[in-house]
């Protein structure tokens, strides 16, 4: 394949010569150390360097070919040669000696360099400056390739440099002679192959980045490399292609050429561009197809998704955005946490950076998500809906629409009635001129827009409107779904955990955020829906446990209802009383660590803290309940409740009677004379008749901010109704909650400087923790007889042991003595023998 494409490329190169790089280094520089490479990496010095070396190089070159050289230069060169003993010789040899194959060319396009070298050789005789430049260009190329290689190997961490150079030498050889290539391939181990491919990729990639127009074709090579069997190579290929595409994708969308356009004869320049674009698009498509197919394989899954996310993030305007979006949106529901987070981030960035794609991608993404929700029957990961929270809409998007419609008839009326006389005097001439001016202005605007890549307000609005409708469609679908499920559940009488509505929480959050954009027509239905979801039922005796939503979700429903109502300028004619009742009861259902405390604080903030003046009875009921609530829950919840309570007392000065103990039950008590803490309806609780005794206990709360808040509230009793106490904590319940939550506290740096001072010194001898009964036990624990007995037994044991030891020693001794007898006998025999021998000897 390499051969074929290579030859093809040869032709190509003849037609369009790639622009030569600025000549920057002389031959020796190829071998110069990394530092130098770094140095000339800073392109500032190009000119200077070139200037510096150019003369010599040219002279040397020319001189060598011409055969005569100036004396000085000869000396100089000799000195140079001597200095760099071996390498320059090789280099010179390469230049001088003919075998072309030996040239250290390092790219896939080995032929290219070969050609150029040849050309250079042909043109040597002419000695034209151009050839020198070219030669220099080729050398520069080499240098750059080295540079690339270095950079790549750095990025691929811990690569063996030796291997790199090895494969680098082998690669071009293989390219030059296919038979050699095959031989080499057989010899190469898998690892070497991998290294080789890596190097190839690096080279190709760098070449692409250097000059995309000239090297656009190597995209094909890269693609083919990423078809490799080796998974690592494929991954590398994908990543390097990604890097290349990220860099070369143009800032416009490439349009398919019509046949007419194709038929028209065009200039060379245009042809070139067309060819470039065509190749780019084709490769991009192939790449995407590859990604999409690889996504299905588990080991490529993260890589493929990462590539798609990165592409979508950088080029949301480019062709094939739709398929990219489709797979990214699909992966919003991935079970892999990392992948899901990545996709979410990408979608978010699309929503936020609308300038990149004029909002078209936004609407597409929202629609896709909507379809996705529909297809999966709302059983998705919450993250897939949560991305909507990053959407941004213009403030006037809805108003304009309605206003325009409203204004038109009005205007017309006015036109007809009042302004008609005024209108008449305006002459036709003027009118036409005005029209002309406006027309011209419009044209200019359109041109400007086309150039500056922005949308006109109208287009923009229509896109946003579409996005919005898709968004709310999704939200309403989720709500409806939840309703139907909870209904069926309650019929089946199954208490299920809150996890059955994974999308509800982000959905409610989104509704709360975009509540000002909801169409008035939907309002009534929405509120009714929320009311149902929040667990409200007309029958008071119904057990609230039938509702399958969690407490947090129900509170969120209340919050959303209020937000919707409030953001529509409270124009909505709905009774939100039921939500208050709901909250009144939900407060008691709240459980720390199971439900989200922030939601509770938010509910207090939205429903009670932000509201206008409350109904007195209702306010009193809430005040009492919140005070009781603060007694049983942690300090963060308590402070949120107290902040709300204080606010209520400030707004409803009549309720301050509750701070005082009017013997006789308080004059304001109506209907219900006695407080009933368990009442489900705030109006029937009779809270006005109660006294806020809780606060006196809350003053003893361990948390200093809670206790000071309690005393602050208590101090209101002595003030007259219009006065308010000096506020100590000027925050809303949500902030107060967050300030005191344990997470916040733990994330703060640990407090230091613990100094302890003594209140009064205690005598050291007193016992503080041990009970006296126990201490009594300690003494008189041993009686005499027992002691004697035990000591005796202890003694007996000790004696037994020592006796045992002694006896054993004795026994051993005796036994060994007996054993010695054998020894003795042996010796005796020996002695006897010896004696006999001696005797014999003596005899002899």
């Amino acid at each position: 394949m390499g051969k074929r494409s290579g030859s093809k490329r040869k032709d190509k190169n003849k037609v369009i010569l790639p622009p030569l790089l600025p000549p920057d280094v002389d031959d020796d520089d190829v071998h110069i150390s990394d530092e130098d490479l770094d140095f000339y990496g800073g392109k500032k010095n190009f000119a200077a360097r070139f200037h510096q070396f150019d003369q010599k190089v040219i002279d040397r070159y020319v001189g060598r070919t011409a055969g005569d050289e100036a004396e000085v230069e000869r000396l100089y060169e000799e000195r140079e040669k001597r200095k760099a003993s071996r390498r320059p010789q090789e280099e010179d040899g390469d230049l001088e000696v003919d075998p072309v194959d030996a040239l250290p060319v390092k790219t896939l396009q080995g032929e290219l360099v070969y050609n150029r070298a040849k050309k250079a050789r042909h043109e040597e005789n002419t000695g034209s400056l151009k050839s020198k430049a070219q030669e220099n260009g080729a050398d520069a190329k080499q240098g750059i390739k080295k540079d690339e290689l270095k950079g790549k190997s750095k990025s691929k961490k811990g690569d063996d440099k030796v291997k790199n150079t090895q494969s680098q030498i082998e690669a071009p050889k293989g390219k030059l002679h296919s038979d050699v290539l095959e031989e080499v391939k057989e010899e190469l181990s898998a690892e070497e192959l991998f290294e080789k491919k890596k190097a190839q990729l690096a080279e190709l990639g760098m070449a692409m980045l250097e000059d995309p127009e000239a090297n656009i074709r190597s995209l094909n090579d890269m693609l083919s490399i990423s078809n490799d069997k080796d998974q690592k190579v494929v991954k590398l290929g994908l990543m390097s292609l990604l890097a290349v595409f990220k860099d070369i994708i143009p800032s416009y969308r490439i349009r398919q050429l019509t046949e007419k356009e194709l038929a028209v004869e065009v200039s060379k320049e245009v042809k070139k561009t067309r060819y470039y674009e065509y190749t780019l698009i084709r490769c991009y498509k192939a790449y995407l197809q590859k990604l999409i197919s690889l996504e299905k394989q588990s080991h490529f899954y993260p890589v493929a998704v990462r590539c798609m996310c990165a592409l979508l993030d950088t080029a949301p305007h480019f062709n094939f955005r739709e398929s990219l979006l489709a797979s990214v949106v699909k992966n919003l529901n991935s079970s892999d946490d990392v992948v899901r987070k990545m996709c979410c981030e990408t979608i978010r960035s699309i929503f936020i950076n609308e300038g990149k794609h004029r909002g078209e991608a936004t609407i597409e993404a929202v629609r896709l998500i909507a379809d996705h929700v529909k297809l999966n029957d709302c059983q998705l990961h919450p993250d897939s809906i949560e991305v909507f929270l990053s959407l941004r809409f213009d403030e006037d998007i809805r108003e304009d629409e309605t206003e325009e419609q409203k204004m038109k008839p009005k205007k017309n009326k006015r036109w007809q009635n009042q302004e008609s006389p005024k209108q008449l005097p305006v002459s036709d001439k003027k009118k036409t001129r005005q029209e002309l001016i406006s027309k011209a202005r419009e044209e200019v605007d359109a041109d400007l827009r086309a150039v500056s890549f922005t949308l006109g307000p109208k287009e923009r609005k229509s896109i946003q409107r579409e996005t919005l409708s898709a968004l709310f469609e999704t939200y309403f679908r989720i709500l409806k779904h939840t309703m139907s499920i909870s209904n069926s559940r309650s019929k089946a009488n199954i208490v299920s955990p809150g996890a059955s509505h994974p999308l509800l929480a982000p959905c409610l959050e989104g509704l709360g955020k975009f509540s000002h954009l909801i169409d008035l027509d939907f309002m009534g239905e929405l509120i009714a829906c929320l009311k149902k979801l929040s667990g409200y039922s007309d029958r008071q005796d119904e057990i609230p446990h039938d509702n399958t939503l969690s407490v947090s979700e129900r509170m969120q429903c209340c919050i959303v209802a209020f937000k919707v109502w409030r953001s529509n300028l409270e124009a909505l004619n709905v009774d939100l009383q039921d939500f208050f009742v709901q909250l009144y009861n939900l407060i008691l259902e709240y459980r720390p660590d199971r439900d989200r405390g922030e939601v509770l604080a938010d509910a207090l903030k939205t429903l009670l803290w932000e509201g206008k003046q409350q109904d007195m009875l209702r306010a009193a009921a809430f005040i009492k309940r919140l005070a009781t609530f603060a007694l049983s829950f942690g300090s963060a919840e308590a402070i949120a409740a107290l902040v709300t309570l204080k606010h209520l007392l400030q707004k409803n000065s009549k309720c301050r009677n509750m701070l005082e103990n009017d013997s006789g039950g308080g004059s304001l008590s109506c209907l219900v004379a006695k407080y009933n803490p368990e009442a489900k309806d705030p109006y029937l609780s009779g809270a006005l008749a109660s006294v806020l005794w809780e606060l006196s206990l809350l003053e003893k709360h361990y948390d200093i901010s809670v206790s000071s808040m309690a005393s602050n509230i208590l101090s209101m009793a002595s003030l007259n109704p219009t006065q308010n106490p000096v506020s100590i904590l000027n925050v809303n319940p949500l902030e107060a909650y967050r300030d005191l939550s344990i997470e916040r506290e733990l994330s703060k740096p640990p407090s230091k400087a613990l100094s302890l001072n003594i209140k009064k010194k205690r005598r050291g001898k007193e016992f503080v923790a041990l009970s006296p009964d126990m201490l009594q036990k300690a003494d008189c624990s041993v009686d005499k007889d027992e002691l004697e007995e035990k000591l005796q037994s202890h003694f007996a044991v000790l004696r037994g042991i020592s006796e045992n030891e002694r006896l054993r020693a004795e026994l051993n001794h005796t036994l060994s003595s007996i054993n010695m007898y054998k020894e003795y006998k042996k010796q005796k025999k020996k002695n006897l023998k010896l004696k006999i021998v001696k005797k014999k000897l003596a005899r002899v």
Binding site: A638, L697, V768, S781, E810, S817
Partner: protein, 706 residues
């Protein structure tokens, strides 16, 4: 030679350590650890080294495995002080030849009559028979061949030479007690001790403490204490009857404190300073060797004994002379080492007497207080690694002991408490930041919880007398953080424990803590698995932090949940039962209890829940009645505080009674329920009983002996 050098080095190290500034200790400590230590457990050794860093850098990531947690919480020890053992050898005292020795005729019989029917004696008999057989054989051989006798003799002398050489080689490595014997210039007395002799000596000594018989007696005591240590030493032969042994030990232990005090002319409440002053006087010079010998040999006895009761007895006797240890730092550190071993042992009376001795030493010898605190804390941590049904009481006891010890000098011990708290806090922070399993496991274990509990109790005991506010808030943060990090019903036992701690804190500080917020999970109804479990596993929360998954739906677990919650809740209610806002405190829990009562399917629970509801209702109505007639408002602090104070102090309100009955019930079931400590009450009792219980005993015993 090598040994002497070692001794010098140890002495040097000790001196240095005492004089060194505290902050330098840690660094030097690490150097000290390079030296091989005797006795110290290897596991602790490597842990100690990372402690200093951790203390210095509280925010440092603590990535150790959970096993290493103990080391993370431990204090670094100056073990070198302990290491330097007995330096000088003076076990034997030269005797006055004037003292009489009597021979006893009946001694032979007493040996016989106390033969124990244990395996060892029987074995001894068997060996005896064997020996006789073999000897006969040998005799036969000898008879047969007279020349063999010569050969044997030669061989035996060879063997002896060889052995003695080997002994001297080993000597270097042996413990120091060995050379006490061999290095003594004057060879110890080997005269037989008889019952009569001892009685006579005792009489002499008790008449006149200065009498020379004291030396003899102490020598006998020394031999008795070392009895059985070296089976081949001649002193073994001095005891032929158990009676003598008993006589010596009891007499010396009971009387020596009096005798020495008489000799030194110091009073019962002498402190360290007095002793130190005495050291230069002439009186001291004469008593010094005697005292040294006595103390050292008592320690020897302590390390020899195995029976808990005798140990407790010895400790009680020795406690009287605790102050005398101050003259010999090395001995006292060795004493402490033994004491801590005994303290950690499971036996209650023994560990109590060991602790009392520790406390005595710590309070009398200010130098050793630091060491005591560190050692005690580390011992406690090591001992509380595992908690099961059996040792909960013991751990509770250890905790109380530790609180006692740390309360001796709050100023000094606070440093350590703060260090430990900072460690606990940083572990918590780390866990809440990462929420990783490994970090969470560092909290979800007994060492952490016991440690928190320890400091809670420490604060409770000292809150009134000292300003411990910074510590208080740290402990609170840790408790809140732990409760927050472990939600869910699996961790209910842990949360109940935290609630108990909060109750304790609340009782001592009179602050209000919202206890119910930790208990809601207990009071909510869960599904009970329908299938009846075959094995009826009893769930005991006191030895559990996390409920195993298989028990989560079991009936027993839920029973235990509700009962424990009732207990903790009623403690909370009992504390505020006279507060003017009691009805409001009870409102929400009462609603939950009622709901639970209606819905629970477990029959056993109906009655206790109902009882609590009734009691709370009764008290609620009582308070409501009372406060209807008062005229003050909630913002009138003084009036609120004085509300129903009289009734409260009279102390027989129905709810208090109810609570104590519940607490008793739980205790009867073997639960670890600690009643709120009433320090005042304890102190009064202690002054009369706890501190000077020894005088009476002493006299009684003496009379008996005579």
């Amino acid at each position: 030679m090598a040994k002497k050098l070692g001794k010098k080095a140890r002495k040097f190290a000790r001196k240095n350590l005492q004089s060194a500034a505290k902050r330098n200790r840690k660094i030097r400590n690490q150097i000290n650890y390079r030296r091989p230590r005797r006795g110290g457990s290897a596991a602790r050794e490597d842990g100690d080294e990372d402690v200093p860093q951790r203390v210095d850098d509280a925010t440092m990531a603590t990535n150790d495995a959970t096993d290493a947690l103990i080391n993370g919480l431990e204090f670094s020890e100056d073990d070198a002080e302990i290491d330097a053992g007995l330096s000088d050898s003076d076990g034997y005292l030269s005797e006055d030849p004037g003292c009489p020795y009597y021979s006893d005729s009946e001694d032979g019989d007493t040996v016989k009559d106390c033969i124990m029917q244990d395996g060892l004696d029987r074995q001894n008999d068997d060996i005896n028979i064997d020996i006789k057989k073999q000897k006969k054989k040998l005799k036969k051989l000898l008879d047969k061949d007279p020349e063999f006798a010569n050969f044997l003799e030669k061989w035996q002398t060879e063997l002896k030479n060889y052995r003695s050489k080997e002994d001297s080689d080993e000597d270097g490595m042996d413990s120091m007690d060995d050379d006490d014997v061999s290095n003594d210039g004057n060879s110890p007395n080997t005269k037989m001790l008889t019952s009569k002799t001892i009685s006579e000596w005792c009489l002499l000594v008790s008449k006149e403490p200065k009498s020379p018989a004291l030396r003899n007696l102490l020598n006998a005591f020394r031999d008795a204490c070392q009895y059985g240590v070296h089976s081949d030493s001649p002193s073994m032969q001095r005891f032929q009857s158990t009676r003598v042994f008993y006589q010596i030990i009891t007499f010396v232990l009971t009387e020596s404190d009096n005798i020495f005090r008489a000799l030194l002319e110091i009073s019962d409440d002498a402190n360290k300073g007095q002793i130190m002053n005495l050291r230069n006087s002439k009186k001291w010079q004469t008593v010094d060797p005697l005292l040294k010998s006595y103390l050292r040999n008592s320690l020897e006895l302590l390390s020899q004994l195995t029976d808990n009761k005798i140990l407790a007895f010895v400790l009680t006797r020795l406690r009287a002379s605790a102050v005398l240890f101050s003259a010999y730092p090395s001995t006292s550190s060795r004493l402490l080492k033994i004491l801590f071993r005994l303290w950690a042992s499971g036996n209650q009376s023994l560990s109590l007497s060991a602790f009392l001795m520790i406390r005595e030493v710590a309070s009398l010898l200010p130098d050793s207080l630091g060491l005591c605190l560190t050692k005690a804390y580390n011992t406690y941590l090591a001992g509380t690694k595992l908690v099961n049904d059996r040792n909960t009481k013991h751990i509770d006891f250890l905790m109380n002991c530790l609180v006692e010890l740390y309360s001796l000098d709050v100023q000094k011990s606070c440093e350590r408490v703060v260090t430990s708290m900072v460690q606990l806090n940083s572990i918590l922070r780390q866990a809440s930041k990462t929420r990783e399993k490994e970090d969470l496991r560092k909290i979800d274990n007994w060492q952490y919880i016991n440690c928190v509990n320890l400091w809670v109790r420490f604060i409770c005991c000292n809150y009134k007398d000292y300003n411990l506010n910074p510590l208080f808030s740290q402990v609170l943060q840790v408790i809140r953080g732990v409760a927050h990090l472990f939600p869910g019903s699996r961790y209910l036992p842990l949360r109940l424990k935290l609630a108990q701690m909060l109750n304790e804190l609340s009782a001592c500080s009179q602050m209000f803590f919202p206890i119910p917020s930790l208990l809601f999970d207990c009071l909510e109804i869960r599904e009970v698995s329908q299938k009846e479990e075959t094995q009826k596993t009893k769930v005991n929360f006191s030895s559990m932090l996390k409920v195993p998954k298989n028990l989560l739906k079991s009936r027993y677990f839920q029973e235990e949940c509700v009962l424990s919650a009732i207990q903790v809740l009623s403690a909370h209610f009992a504390q505020w039962s006279y507060h003017v806002s009691f009805p409001e405190i009870a409102t929400i829990p009462l609603m939950l209890l009622k709901r639970l009562h209606e819905q629970t399917t477990i029959e056993v629970l109906h009655r206790p829940i109902k009882r609590l509801i009734d009691q709370v209702n009764e008290n609620k109505e009582f308070i409501e009645r009372k406060r209807e007639v008062v005229s003050f408002s909630p913002n009138d602090k003084a009036s609120v505080d004085s509300f129903l104070q009289e009734e409260k102090n009279s102390g027989n309100a129905s709810f208090k009674r109810f609570y104590s009955s519940i607490a008793e019930n739980h205790q009867a079931k073997g639960k670890m329920v600690k009643p709120i400590p009433k320090t005042q009450h304890y102190r009064q009792l202690l002054i009369s009983k706890g501190v000077t219980p020894l005088c009476g005993c002493r006299e009684k015993n003496y009379q008996v002996l005579m």
